[in-house]
């Protein structure tokens, strides 16, 4: 279970560029929740994910995952509990290393990295099987450098890496935004398969309202650093893009009027 309690974050405090990114955010995810997150630019979606991952610290408030307060853990220590896929396909993988080497790095997430072999033959078998589930033929190119793969292949690989060790929470930050529509669909399908198979608790940021409705069991809309709409269960199943746009506009108008 993930719990964000009264989280605040302001960038460039005290300068002309001061930006209140997260403004009293409260959010609770139950185990197995697959939550899609929508909202306009600057609503605080990516910032929320980065705060959970520890890219930068919160100003105040608490982030608790399965009873453990993450606030004071550095990014690399939180990684033990988190699987992350970024928007930029280049960020999630090491281009100059092989496919299997990248997977081996992910396989050791949260474990001690000592002087044992960086990759073993038994692991290679596991990687081959897991790569085959992607249906991209990567299982026959395990020693190829990741830099030779397309953006979609790299995102699929990053997704596999993020879930190779089952994470307590999967953070997807617009992970299909940089892909062409067909590849994006394929990666989203893979995402759904993996999340369903491993029953992963997931936060998925997207700009695509259709995807936000289609995937997951819960949808939240953020604006000005807080959650303004939270729809789940039956209501989410019957949701249409038109409904969402209406809520989006109402919320936007309300924000504008209140300011």
């Amino acid at each position: 279970m993930l719990k964000l309690k009264d989280v605040y974050k302001t960038f460039n405090r005290g300068t002309v560029n001061e930006k209140k990114a997260i403004d009293g955010l409260n959010l609770t995810l139950e185990d197995g929740d697959f939550v899609t997150v929508i909202g306009g630019n600057g609503a605080g979606k990516s910032t929320t994910l980065n705060l959970i991952a520890g890219v930068f610290p919160v100003d105040s408030g608490k982030i608790v995952l399965n009873g453990l307060t993450l606030n004071n853990l550095p990014e690399h220590k939180r990684a033990r509990f988190l699987g992350r896929v970024f928007q930029d396909p280049m960020r999630g993988t090491a281009a100059t290393m092989g496919i299997e080497e990248n997977l081996a790095l992910a396989y050791r997430r949260g474990k001690m990295r000592g002087l044992s072999y960086g990759i073993t033959n038994e692991e290679r078998k596991i990687y081959r099987e897991r790569l085959a589930t992607l249906g991209l033929g990567l299982e026959d190119r395990m020693t190829s450098k990741v830099g030779l793969l397309s953006g979609g292949q790299r995102q699929a690989l990053t997704l596999l890496m993020a879930t190779l060790q089952k994470p307590d929470l999967l953070l997807l930050d617009e992970h299909t935004a940089a892909l062409d529509p067909k590849t994006a669909d394929k990666v989203l399908q893979l995402t759904e398969e993996i999340v369903a198979r491993d029953k992963l608790t997931t936060l998925m940021v997207t700009h695509n309202m259709k995807n936000a409705i289609q995937y997951g069991n819960r949808l939240i809309m953020m604006d000005a650093g807080k959650v303004v709409v939270d729809i789940r269960g039956e209501e989410k199943k019957n949701l249409t893009v038109r409904d969402l746009l209406e809520k989006f506009n109402i919320e936007n108008d309300r924000m504008l009027l209140s300011e």
């Binding site: 690399h76 990684a79 960020r91 790095l105 050791r108 474990k111 002087l115 044992s116 960086g118």
Partner: protein
């Protein structure tokens, strides 16, 4: 004919120097290529290793102990740069310059406040000496340096294949991804800098023995020679050497090529005072070649180039 005989006469010395500086260049490869940092500490550590080794031997230490201490001293210097960079937020290049500057004073202290200290090969049991460079024996510095090179490449190949070594490679390749996979990027940078500077100091210890003295200025411009070796090795051998161990070998060979070229221009009558300028020009040209190739070559649509790009 004079030129040829002079050159042949000088060749063994050039090869021995190239091999010793090749070890140093392998250290530079670890920071410059693996970690993707330009580390200028090496100009200081390339003086320090020799100073530590020579002074310890003059005080009765065994040559192996002295060299181990040189290695450790180099690692400490690397740690200082690493901490300045990761713990104090100083850009890597500046952190290296700061350590290098401090090392100048430290090296003078190590050398007993003298600019250099000689060590007599007759009195001390040295591993390498330029006196033996033309001998056919196991004391020949070319042989000793070659053995060092092979053993160190084997050790590094093993190390960078371990979980820890893979973490260092990942840190250099993609820090964002590394953090997301739970790798302590700062720790790995420090570790890489320590390893690199340890190797450089070890090369320095060999070089001081080879020359018969330790000099506070021995490392001036070392980073440029190291980079020259790395880049020459890459330009010449990158198409045939793909494996990590072979890439390290290419660096060692690059250093030998560099010293052969230097020897040729010296034999041709170049003033040795102009050497540093020549080194800088060589490195600038070799750095520019891949850049120009990428910029102007591919446009003409050469298929082979595009594929290998």
């Amino acid at each position: 004919m004079d030129f040829v005989s002079n050159l042949l006469n000088a060749l063994p010395g050039a090869v021995a120097q190239g091999l010793i500086w090749g070890l140093m260049a392998i250290g530079v490869y670890i920071t410059y290529k693996v970690l993707d940092l330009a580390d200028l500490t090496v100009d200081g550590t390339m003086s320090m290793g020799g100073a530590v080794c020579v002074m310890l031997m003059m005080n009765g230490a065994n040559v192996w102990v002295a060299m181990l201490c040189a290695f450790i001293a180099g690692m400490l210097a690397g740690a200082v740069t690493g901490i300045l960079h990761t713990g104090m937020g100083i850009p890597a290049i500046l952190a290296g310059i700061l350590t290098q500057l401090a090392l100048y004073s430290i090296n003078l202290r190590i050398l007993g406040n003298k600019a250099n200290q000689g060590i007599n090969p007759d009195k001390y049991d040295l591993l390498v000496s330029l006196r033996n460079v033309k001998e056919v024996s196991i004391a020949n510095p070319i042989l000793v340096a070659a053995i060092f090179t092979v053993v160190l490449i084997a050790l590094l190949y093993w190390f960078f294949g371990t979980s820890l070594g893979c973490g260092i490679r990942a840190t250099g390749a993609n820090p964002d991804m590394s953090r997301a996979q739970g790798i302590n990027v700062n720790f790995n940078k420090i570790l890489g800098l320590m390893l690199s500077n340890g190797l450089v100091a070890l090369a320095s210890a060999l070089y001081a023995q080879y020359q018969g003295f330790a000099d506070v200025n021995a490392g001036r411009g070392a980073i440029v020679i190291g980079l020259a070796a790395v880049i020459i090795g890459e330009v010449v051998f990158s198409r045939i050497f793909r494996n990590f161990a072979l890439k390290l070998l290419a660096v060692a060979l690059g250093a030998i090529i560099y010293y052969l070229v230097i020897q040729i221009v010296l034999t041709l009558g170049m003033n040795s005072n102009d050497l540093k300028m020549l080194s800088a020009i060589v490195v600038a040209v070799f750095l520019a070649v891949p850049y120009w190739k990428g910029k102007y070559w591919n446009k003409s649509g050469k298929k082979g180039e595009a594929k290998n790009a």
